[in-house]
Amino acid sequence: MNTVKLRDRSNAAVRFTRRAVLRGGALVLSAAIIPGEGHAAPNPAKETASLTAWVRIGRDGSVTVIASQSEMGQGISTTLAAAIADELYLPLEKVAIAFAPFAPAYRDPVYNWMFTGNSQGTSSFYQLMRQMGAAAREMLVSAAAARWGVSVDGVTLGNGRIAHPDGRRTLSFGAVAADAAKLPVPTAPKLRDDPPSPGGALRRWDIPAKVDGSAEFGIDVRLPGMLLAAVRRAPRLGSKLEKHDADSLKSRPGVVTVLEISDGLIVVARTYWQAKRALEDANLVWSAAGSEFSSATAFDQVYAQRLSSGPFFTHLEKGSASSAMDGATKLEATYQLPFEAHATMEPMNCTAHVADGRCEIWAPTQGVELAQAVAAQVTGLPPERIIIRRTLLGGGFGRRLLADFVKQTLVAAMAVKQPVKLIWSREEDMTHDFYRPAVLHRIAGALDSSGSAVALSHRVVSPSQMLYIFPRSMLGDIKDWTEAVAPPEKFDTMAVEGIIEQPYDIANQLVEQHRLELDIPTSVWRTTGHGPNNFVLECFVDELAAAAKRDPVAYRRSMLRSDRRALNVLDLVAVKSGWDRRSPSGAARGVALAKAFGGYVAAVAEVSVRNSRLSVRRLTMAVDCGRLLDPGIAASNIQGGAVWGLSAMQTEITFERGRPMQLNFDAFEPLRLGQTPAIEVHFVASDDKPGGTGELGPVPVPAAVCNAVYAATGQRIRALPISRAGLSFA
């Protein structure tokens, strides 16, 4: 594993702080709106005019807005397109949406890197999209005013037309678009002060195509002359392909060619089934050497050993936790969470055509810039000869930030010089994931005589989640951008997020991490560190409340004097769940609170446990995600997120001598409909900056459920999945 220093860039550290705000907004704005900046700006066909990098207007008046953010079900492409459409006084249904290829204009301004993730699409782009829509509107107005020889004052927009101050004459957008595109982009456009009443639920643009089978995901791409490829890599991580029977493979029906890669084989055939079957029947011999990692013993051995011996990096030190612990009532517990697979419903796939000094890629990707850079490295082509066309994504959850599957596809496409679509089997997808790392925590708290926590000491053993996704532009020269690179530890904070900025008033805090190096690939997974860390923190706060003999909600309230937003969601969830009323017979409730992804969420779970069967009867969620841009999309993200949180209580990936043991949905079983409780979502009225909802929902759910199990049975669950506690979901 490489460790590199950050490139010496003037404000690199500021850029990389996870909570970094949009500083110098005007500067960012001007950088983001240079029309056609970069080599791969959206199709500047003659019949369309580009007003900023974000709005294209056809001569017929049609309006296309450009989406930087990938659509994987989180609804971001609707929310951001609507922001632009609003500024053009157009209903969302009147604009087309196109996904941008890579260009610097489409980078996330916080990280200066083009990607979709970290639940920051809204916070990074919403205001920018309003500004871009307003800039396009002012350009149209200026062009129309010039045509008429009048001042811009009193020129208005409506129904896709521009109206003269005389109230009679109008021009279509298309009639002035070419003139407008020649104007300088306003650097401080005035936003509408009368935007359509915010808070209405939008009809998502992508839904009709998702109910009739016409939505195009990566796996659906079809090109003339396209071949299909299947891949098989070592079932044991770290093993290499030693031998294979290439000749007999090549004689299989439909097989066009067989390509060796470092740890496996790609078969290219006329159809995918032919390629897959040939590979399944192939006699592949793997090297005896490979990873020795076994998860069953890892917690007791390597994790426990590092937990006691370190070394540790101190992420937070406030007051003195150790001296506050002296003589106080002290509580200590260890918690552990397993490896998890992303298991997107659409397995990894990509389509590419490399020919005539040009590379075209069709990919369901969250990581456009990484894919572009990797394509340049693999093909040796200059960036301007590479274009990435994005499809819809059948789930992402962080997995599609990576470009390993793009690289594989390019290897095949370069070999056959024809378009190739490469599809992973589900087994490949689960065997060669970049897993949510297993973690071991030791958490200790000290209580004063009233039972309030005066010290919290938190030690985490966790592999990095940023090895493959830390923005490569921030790093030095690396030959292969798909390889693991460990960022400096002070920027590698995902392992401790949610605990270094927890909301409780606790005077003395210490948060340390041992960054464990494993030969198991690990990366970000929906909720990143927030999910596992909240499970530990909120279960432990519940332990403190029990030790103090206090009600779990009242106890939390007493330590939230300085965090209004945390208090709001906690109070709302208590009211909506009927916390102060008795639970129904046979049921008990548990609560958890989280501050994550620019917002707050609290959950109350109502459960019953009978014969080791855990039944979650009801989940009540209260959310403050800042100003609510779309209650429909936000609620679906929170509800679906809660399902993700419940799933993560019953799934895990285990390893035996480097082999992932769960290869398909028969062994790695996400929650199903019949196990899903009623999930109520309530929003706090908030004027705070919009935060993300994509990853917020799952965060407090496992702790709320486990705290309810304690209330019901007295059993503390300190390790997931719940099967370790002898439980399963009813």
Partner: protein, 150 residues
């Protein structure tokens, strides 16, 4: 050569009879609305109708589909007019959408058999996996679709 009846049309495909129906639909007939999710009939993303019943096409050899009536998501209706599709739009069910063709086909088969399913009927019949977790809206939309059908 295998003769098939897909979405009311006759089709002849040159495929090995043990090829899963899923891949024949997607690759030979270009009907890509039916999705590959697991290949072992565990997730339901590939659900289609064979003679009106829900079948997980990833594990259904095309040879067995010969002379039987196959319906895919593309053939469920014209213009998204099937009650399940209408309910799915009304309730804004899909998120990423990848599992939804299979969900809709599974639900359409359920409603054909039980026009007014109870929650327990739904729990038992709809075992498809949705990783986005749209289950709550799916349940509601099934009841809405049942209302449309009356």
């Amino acid at each position: 050569m295998i003769k098939l009846n897909v979405n009311g049309r006759a089709a002849t495909v040159d495929a090995d009879p043990d090829t899963p129906l899923l891949w024949v639909l997607r690759e030979h007939l270009g009907l890509t609305g039916t999705k590959y999710g697991c290949g072992i009939a565990a997730c339901g993303a590939c659900t289609v109708h064979v003679d009106g019943g829900a079948v997980r096409s990833c594990s259904f050899p095309v040879g067995e589909a010969k002379d039987r009536k196959i319906t895919t998501i593309e053939g469920l209706s014209h213009n998204r007019s099937h009650p399940v599709q209408k309910a799915w739009i009304a309730e804004q069910v899909p998120q990423c959408g990848y599992c939804q063709s299979g969900m809709i086909m599974a639900v359409a088969a359920l409603l054909a058999e039980k026009p007014r399913p109870t929650d327990a009927d739904i729990d038992a019949a709809i075992t498809n996996i949705c990783r986005c977790g749209t289950y709550q809206r799916i349940r509601k939309a099934i009841h809405v679709a049942a209302g449309f059908s009356q």
